[in-house]
Amino acid sequence: MCRAMIYLGRPILIDDLLFRPDSSLINQAYMPRMLHMLNLAGFGMMAWDKASHDPEAPYRYSSPTLPVFDRNLKSLARKTQADCVLAHVRGVAYSTTVNISDQNCHPFHFPGTKVALAHNGDIYRIGEMKGTLRAHLKDEYARQIAGSTDSEWLYALLLSRLPDPRREPAREELITAVEEVIDIVRRTRRHHGVDISSSCNLFIATGEQILGLRYCFDFGRFRTESPAQVHEANLSYLSLWFTLGREYGFHDGEWQMVGGEAEATSALIASEPLSSNTATWLQVPEYSLVHAETRGGRPRVQVRAVG
């Protein structure tokens, strides 16, 4: 069912997000605290570093293997800083029918566009709906879908709803595009008679702004043929948390954000907190999004209900 996180703010050692906290994203691959499924189907990360060559372009690392054993990733994470990071560990159904490949590793980012996306959830019966959803995709993005995930279709839909995916979207443009994606999928589900709960937590980053969406279509509506077919995700709303402050690091014996809102320069959004102590984290409400940007030197964080 996946776990993901996005960071935006002061340059941070990637190791301090991915590996070192006691409930770091990599640890969540095999030991999530708020999910009873493992996330063993690959890892992916995009990062933006203003001090790097061509700073507006993110760099990417992904692998369909287990990240906890990935020495290359650990070696890079210990030496690399970034001011925006979007990372994801993939969880899928335990089935031989699932395609584990690099093309299916999140985040998704088509060349030349500003926006990257990762997804935590599962759009039920997406295969039947692709024909209808295709009508909402711009050809240039439909052509670039390379994998078999529902998530890449959500990404292509998002790009198709942005006025110009090649430039940095204004905050309202990005939020409106996300809301339109939700509306399109909702109407498509209705058209196909799909009414079983489907989680759609999205993690979106541009290097300048980040957005986390906590959403579920038809929440709580499980299949009614047999109790044995009811999945954990049909009964509980997938979590989404955020924290903000001046600096994320190891302070007073634990991993936490320090500095308070008054000095906030950094924000972190995650499927679940990166530390077992959740005291400094806040939960994003159901059917809501959290958006953060640091443009203009002032923190701007907004939590907004999505109808």
Binding site: R186, R190, D195, D218, F219, G220, R221, F222, T224, P227, V230, N234, L235, S236, Y237, F242, T243, L244, G245, R246, E254, M257, V258, G259, G260, E261, A262, E263, A264, S276, N277, T278, A279, T280, W281, L282, Q283, P285, E286, Y287, S288, R298, P299, R300, V301, Q302, V303, R304, A305, V306, G307
Partner: protein, 331 residues
């Protein structure tokens, strides 16, 4: 400490329903602990191992804020209880830090001792469990009132959502009883206990957007969500401020029925839903019972109230944090 342990217990509001012999039984399981000024009775985030009744002195309770700093929550004195969530939920963590302002004496109830007494259906422990539930319900009401005051003082467009609507799915035709054991709140119930509980309820299938109750009105029936979800919210004209989302296995309207109070919020189907609507009198009788079904129901409802309180507290902290960030942006 003034008086014996039994006298301190007798004076605590939490134990006011107990008879003298029940107080004596309970007092035998309490441990007197002393704290110096500034010493922590409990730290936020630590494992919850038990609860304290303050015998003497003052205890400051505070919760950490995202990004650093703390917000004062309460100052407690003799007779007050702190850390009682430990008696309601297994494996939980402290949600606040409690520190002695000066010298403090407090009576500690070990969670394991309390659990053992419950397992034996000791009347005193059942009464304490009921009183704990009502205490959590009171706190929930207070926290939501503070949130409401914040929202009313500075309405932020982002806090409001339109009323749930859209075309409803046809009511699902399925064997509701067969699915009750998968609900998280009923997992400890035996088949016979689930049958007895279900016999006290009727099935409702409210489509999305239908209101099952309004803020300030009497609640006709406590409800349990089987499928779909209910939204708990406050109406602001044509919009809603969402307080909680109650999915499968969550209760709605229990606290007002038990307290005999009006509903603190509107209850609206946010998805096409299937719910059990309990006969209020039968539900209250089960809640006040002394058998294992009553214990199961008490535990399930209390766990649900704790979840609601955690959500409400998080909501309040988030509103405070957003207000500070908004003020900064305007400065």
């Amino acid at each position: 400490m003034k008086g014996s342990i039994a006298e301190v217990v007798a004076a605590a509001p939490l134990y006011r329903d107990l008879a003298a012999d029940e107080i004596a039984e309970l007092a035998a399981g309490l441990e007197l602990r002393r704290f110096a000024a500034g010493e922590a009775l409990m730290m936020q985030g630590a494992d919850s191992d038990g609860a304290y009744v303050i015998a003497s002195g003052v205890v400051d309770v505070a919760a950490r804020l995202p990004g650093g700093g703390e917000a004062a929550i309460a100052d407690l004195g003799p007779g007050d209880m702190v850390g009682e969530m430990a008696l309601l939920m297994r494996g939980g963590r402290r949600t606040a830090t409690a520190r002695a302002r000066g010298e403090v004496e407090a009576l500690f109830t070990d969670r394991r001792y309390f659990e053992a007494a419950l397992h034996l259906l000791r009347p005193a422990s059942l009464k304490v469990l009921r009183r704990l539930g009502l205490t959590i319900a009171e706190r929930l009401r207070a926290v939501r009132a503070r949130s409401r005051a914040l929202v009313n003082a500075a309405p932020d467009d982002g806090l409001f959502r339109p009323l749930p609507g859209g075309e409803a799915h046809p009511p699902a035709d399925f064997k509701v009883r067969a699915f009750l054991p998968i609900l998280p709140c009923l997992r400890d119930f035996s088949a016979a206990e689930i049958d007895a509980l279900a016999a006290a309820a009727r099935i409702e299938q409210p489509p999305r957007g239908v209101a099952l109750g309004e803020e300030g009105e009497a609640v006709d029936a406590p409800r349990l969500v089987v499928r779909g979800a209910l939204l708990l919210g406050q109406r602001h004209g044509e919009r809603l401020c969402q307080l909680d989302i109650l999915g499968p296995g969550r209760f709605a309207g229990v606290a007002p029925v038990l307290e005999g109070a009006p509903a603190g919020a509107a209850v609206i189907a946010v998805e096409d839903s299937t719910v059990l609507a309990f006969d209020a009198a039968r539900f209250t009788a089960l809640w006040n019972g002394t058998d294992r079904l009553s214990l199961r129901l008490l535990e399930a409802v209390n766990a649900d109230l704790v979840l609601s309180l955690n959500t409400a507290s998080n909501h309040l902290t988030r509103l405070n944090a957003q207000a500070r960030v908004r003020d900064l942006a305007r400065a």
